[in-house]
Every structure is written in structure tokens, then in C-alpha cells.
């Protein structure tokens, strides 16, 4: 930031030296990165008043759009200098034109660029489901990046390629909105449910995006950019094989439960009979202690299992594993119904399910 500020100052000084107008010889402008403001100093008080009374004399704008009206700015007089704060922050690596168009004197004008702070190159750090064999009717992928990514690139940057090199046509639901987490580090890709659901047009005509027995690569283009504009650099690939579809409701009775001994802080561990959505598993499974309080600790899931390592040792007694009815496996099946439910099932209300286990 220091460097950026100095750089701008130099540019402004250079502009000033070039200015042939003696009336403005005292006027200096610099950019204060900490304030995010341009500071104009050295004006006679008459000019300062003129400027404060008519801020439209100032024009600050991206130099790439010379015909545009100025950006919105706020003016404030501080210690005899005028601080000009743009309503929207100035961006690095962008050239700005700044001018004061005096009514009865030659304009003061200059251009400057804020130096870019080198942005870290992003990387694809996780792909979920992380299992090498996934159901043919998998509904959702998660891609986790090391850096916040820019929105608006998914359609052009991510493709699904079959083992024989053929690109799968339109495998993802084309929502207007991309589904990112709040940090824009984790992207959710929904495979087009119309192509997964049995008996619907896209499924019958275009076929399922994932075919049992085939190998696939999810390819993320090396051109995909972080929010700060740094590119991945080279294509990233997640490789998986497709197995039989999972078309049954989740049945927690099929899970293996490993209970630790009382007094220990070993993890309580579930092993699922299928791949559960890893996002949902972190949020929609909870363990209640014998006193009715939710256990806090460290959660881990890879979708194939789930473990909770408690912050304090286990007490003996009955524990209740709560399963929220919204919990989904990777194919969108819930404890209430399969994703493609037989007619008449999913309207029925199923409360939260629970399993009681004894720790001794």
C-alpha cells in the first residue's frame, strides 16, 4: 500500500511540474491509500471555497471511459486540504483521470494508476464427492478453491469430459445465479436434475450426464480467475468413475456406528452405507448428550463417514444421534424419500429421525 501511495504521488508531482499555469503552481494532488481519497493541497482559500461549493468542478473517472461523467465523490476540507473520496473504491491496475475544471482558469488534470498488489494464484483444493466411485445419479458436486473466486465464469470454465474424451453436453443446471458460499471459495454444481430424474425428457433424449461404468474428468479451466484476477494457471481435473445409481431413501439403520468409551475423547464415528452429501452431513447431523445438550467438538466427514471428536470426555449414558429430514445423499435422496420417489410418498411428513446409542 505504501508503494502504491508513493507511486501515485510521483505521478501527481510530475503532472504538476508539467503544468504551465502559474496560478495553479501551488496546487498539489496525491492519493492517500489509507484514506482511499485524493488529497488536493496548496489551493488558495478562494479556490478551496469554490471547489467545496461546486464539487461538479471535479471529475474523477476510469481513464478507459473518457466520455463518461465523473464518478460520485464526496468532498471534505481537512486542515486546509481538500479530501476527495470516491463513492466506490478505486481499483488497482486501473488508470484514472482526475481533473479540476476551474471556471476562470486552465483545468488541473492528471492521470494515475494504483499499483496492483500481487494476488496469490488460486488452486482447486478439494472436489466432493471425493470417492473414486460415485452413483450415476449424483446430483451435486462441490469444488473448493484456495482463494475467493470471481462469479460469472462457471459456464465457460467448467466442463465434464467422458473417459473417451467426449465433452458431456450441458450437464449442469443453467441457473442464472451461481451457487457459491459466502466466501466464494466453495462452488456448488448441480447436475441437471432433468437429466437425472427417470422418465423426463432430458433424461430420455439426452441421457443422464453420468453413465454407469464410464470414467469422467471434471475439468476446471486454467483460465478461471480468482476474485483478485489471478488465474488458476493450468487446467485442474477431478477424476472419478461412475457406479450404479442410488435410488433409495436414506436408511440410518444401515449405518455402522462406532462408539468410544466413556471417559475418553476418542471420536464417535458413523460409517455410511452410501455417499452422503458432505455439506449436508456437517450441518444436519448432531449428537445429543444424556442431559439433552448438543455435543460440541470437531466434526469431520468425507461423505463416506462422519465423526465427532468431543471437546470434553464422553460421559456414560444414552446419546441421541439426530438426523435432520433435509439430510441428502449425493443423489438427493433423503430419509423421507428417494429423489425419484414412488408416487404418493413424499407428501407424508417424516419428523427428524434419531438413533439412540449407549456409551459405557
Amino acid at each position: 500500500m505504501q508503494r502504491a501511495s508513493k507511486f501515485v504521488r510521483q505521478i501527481f508531482s510530475a503532472a504538476l511540474l508539467l503544468s504551465p499555469f502559474s496560478a495553479l503552481a501551488e496546487t498539489k494532488a496525491r492519493f492517500d491509500a489509507a484514506l482511499g481519497a485524493i488529497i488536493v493541497s496548496g489551493m488558495v482559500s478562494k479556490d478551496t471555497s469554490l471547489l467545496l461549493n461546486d464539487p461538479s468542478l471535479i471529475r474523477l473517472q476510469n481513464a478507459a471511459t473518457p466520455e463518461a461523467s465523473g464518478m460520485l465523490v464526496a468532498l471534505e476540507e481537512v486542515n486546509g486540504e481538500v479530501q476527495i473520496k470516491p463513492r466506490f473504491s478505486l481499483q488497482t491496475s486501473t488508470r484514472y483521470a482526475f481533473s479540476i475544471n476551474w471556471p476562470n482558469a486552465a483545468p488541473f488534470s492528471t492521470e494515475f494508476t494504483l499499483n496492483a498488489v500481487a494476488a496469490a494464484a488460486p488452486d482447486l483444493v478439494a472436489f466432493s464427492p471425493q470417492q473414486s466411485l460415485i452413483p450415476a445419479n449424483t446430483l451435486r458436486f462441490y469444488l473448493s478453491f484456495s482463494e475467493p473466486m470471481a462469479r460469472g465464469q462457471v459456464r465457460d470454465s467448467i466442463s465434464l469430459v467422458r473417459g473417451d474424451g467426449q465433452i458431456v453436453d450441458s450437464p449442469f443446471l443453467n441457473l442464472a445465479t451461481e451457487l457459491w458460499d459466502g466466501n466464494q471459495k466453495r462452488l456448488t454444481l448441480l447436475l441437471d436434475p432433468g437429466r437425472i430424474k427417470q422418465g423426463v425428457g432430458p433424461n430420455a433424449i439426452a441421457g443422464a450426464p453420468l453413465v454407469e461404468g464410464q470414467r469422467y474428468q471434471l475439468v476446471v479451466s486454467g483460465k478461471m480467475k480468482s476474485a483478485k484476477g489471478a488465474v488458476l494457471g493450468s487446467d485442474r481435473r477431478a477424476v472419478f468413475e461412475v457406479g450404479p445409481p442410488e435410488r433409495h431413501a436414506i436408511d440410518p439403520q444401515g449405518w455402522d456406528i462406532a462408539t468410544p468409551h466413556a471417559g475418553s475423547t476418542l471420536p464417535f464415528t458413523l460409517t455410511f452405507d452410501r455417499i452422503i452429501d458432505s455439506g449436508a452431513a456437517l450441518r444436519l447431523l448432531s449428537l445429543i448428550d444424556p442431559n439433552g445438550a448438543e455435543i460440541s467438538g470437531t466434526l469431520y466427514t468425507d461423505g463416506g463417514g462422519w465423526s465427532l471428536t468431543p471437546s470434553t470426555p464422553w460421559e456414560p449414558g444414552y446419546y441421541q444421534l439426530l438426523i435432520d429430514p433435509e439430510l441428502e445423499d449425493v443423489a438427493g435422496n433423503t430419509i423421507r424419500a428417494a429423489f425419484d420417489a414412488t408416487a404418493g410418498i413424499i407428501g407424508s411428513t417424516v419428523p427428524e429421525a434419531s438413533i439412540y446409542v449407549h456409551i459405557d
Binding site: S56, T65, G70, L75, F88, P148, L175, K197, D277, F339
Partner: protein, 407 residues
Amino acid sequence: MSILTKSIGASLIALAASGAAWADASPQSAGALAFDDANTLFVGDSKAGVVHAFELNGNIIEDQADYVLGRAQTFEGRTIIDNIDEKIAAMLGVTAEDIVINDMAVHAPSKQIFLSVHRGHGPNAEAVILKVDHGEVELVDLSDAAHTQTSVGPVPSAETLEFGQPLNTLAITDIDFYKGEIFVSGVSNEEFSSKLRRIAYPFDGNVKSTSIEIWHAVHAMYETRAPIITQTIAELDGEPTLVAVYACTPIVKIPLAELTDGAQIRGTMIGEMGFGNTPIDILPYVNPWDGTSNVIVTNTNRSAASIKLESLASAEAMPHGEGVGNVFSIAGVPQFPLPMSGTQHLDMVDPMWAVALRTAPEDAGNLQLHTIPLPFFFDRADHIVEMNWADSPDPFGYRAAPKLEFN
């Protein structure tokens, strides 16, 4: 002096007096927009997981009644702004690639158009609300408006927080106001859920979250759930009814009376918009020629379609269950196709006019705000039609009409 400069001056006097920097009343993100019957602007903020309500006052809303929208009699709309993305970008000190126009809504009493815009594509993209005043885009200073909000997103738990940001988010896709309540739909990034949120306004802290489950009539034997993308409330035979379009794209109707807290409902699937497509907006309108009530549905990959409310009211549930064949195309309630490709957002301005944010028919690089006459949503200039040719027959007397002069 341009309007932009004027607004700079006005803002600055206040700011200079207070000595404050820009007051930050902006939402964290600004997506779906809707107005109530008066001056409240609802803004869907997916990032914060809330819907904001801004009571816009007379300083913000400017009457546009004198702005000529075109000449409906001769099917001539008006381009209000060409290259609107570039103009907005310039205002925000960036180039057009750095802005996204997320939604558009018209404040019906003043006919003023409002836009929700993001400056930047990163998690810290700045959310901006803009308005159009006599063909010029202006920034709305939300600090001037009384503000309340209601939570609609998932409540983050400690486990889902990574560096203080929730992983689980709800992308709000539509907000509709009807008689003191808003209806909010969205797509979760962790659940394939058909939850619809029903919230009384003014906000009192209660969110009725209704799970609506539907037959997917394209299925011969199966039923499923899917997120609602857009919805509207229409009175069908006098009964207020939610008409919703889902992802991949059944149309469903559900009487509002059934949307009670926590209810699980099988909506009546009455039509199919065709697959390989997601809906954008569904909007009610009255046909000014015959007085019939209708809805129009705009789509990502198909042209728009209109449906008469009468047809919606009388539509029977599409056949479903065992023994019923697959439905692969547009089916169910009769739909009338409308020539509106390239439409990104649509809203009604008044009984004769809609406004579209669209790519210009002759130049895909030109994102424009353009008015479209009802009831056919048809602008002659957009199409190669015989009546546009100089030596063609002129049965409706279009060429006799004087050339349009816009104010």
C-alpha cells in the same frame, strides 16, 4: 449540467455539512427486487441471507408519468438506454465487464425503473441500487430510506462457518408481494429443496417457511421435489393462488390458503414449460385489448410464453401416476409463445407497457432497456415483418402515423 452532476452536488452538500464519508446503508448483495403496493422496495440479499425493505421517500422516487414509453397502437417501443451496462459501469468507475445487473423492478405508481447491480465479481462485490430518471441512470442513496430486514437464509452453525462465512447459502431467486406479505423463493447450495418462505410485512420476526412438494408430471411413475425459481400470486376464480415455475420447468398452482406454516403440500402440476431451460420471471398482466388476466413467463433458453388466468383456473392436474406416458415437451395448460428472445429481466410499467432489460435484437453486444407494448410483447422494429417495408401493404395504417418524437 447532467443529472449525475446534479446528484453529486446534492449529496455533497449534506456530506460536507456532516463531515461524514459515504453513509453505508447498502446491502451486502442485491439480487431479486420487488415493490409492495406503495413505496417499499424489497431487496433480496443472498449473501447476508436476508430480505431488506427500504421505504423509498419522495427524495428517491421521481415521477416518470411524462416520459413517453413509445406508441403501442403502432407496436413501437422505445429504447430508454442503449449499452446500459457500460453507462452504469462508467458511473461506478469500472468497465462493463465488472458489473452485473441482477434484477429490475418498476415502482408502478411513479413508473420508475429500479435496478440491482453488483460492482465486481468477488465476495466483496459492492451492491448498488440504481433508478432510471427520464432515460438517465442514477444512484439511489439508500441511507435516505427507512430500513428493516428479515432473515430468510439458513442460520449458520459453528460447523458451517469457515473464516466467519457460512458455507450454506440460499440464492434468493424471486420475491413477490401480495396483500401485506412477501413470498421468497431460492436455491440452496446444499439442499435440493422446494421451500417457499412466506413473511408478513412490516416484518415482525416470523418467517413462515412452507415446504411445497409437487408432482413432477413429466414423470410417469415418480414424484420429486425441486426449488421454485419464480412465482406470482394470482386470483383464480377469486381465490388467491400461488403460481410457481420450478427449475426444469413445471408450472404449479397452490391456493394461498394451503400455505400454512410448516405445511407439506402437493401442488397441482398444471403445465410444463419444456426442458433444457430455466425460468427467469413470471409476471401477471391484463391484456389491454380484451381485458383478460394473464401471466407471462420468461425463460433462459426458450422464448417467453403467456398463459391466461382463466386457463390456469380451469386447468386440471396433469396426469400422473402409473401407466401415464412421459411428457417431453411443452404440455398442460395452453401457452401462447411470445417473441422475446434475449430478455434478461422483464417488468410491467403500466397497463399498456412492459420494460425489458435485453440484448438488442440486431446487436447482441448492446444490453438495452427497452419498452415493449402489450398485449403481444411485440415491437415491430425488432422483427422482419412485411409492414416495416417501405412499399408493402399498410392495412393498419402504420405509415400514416406521424414519426415518433420522444421527449
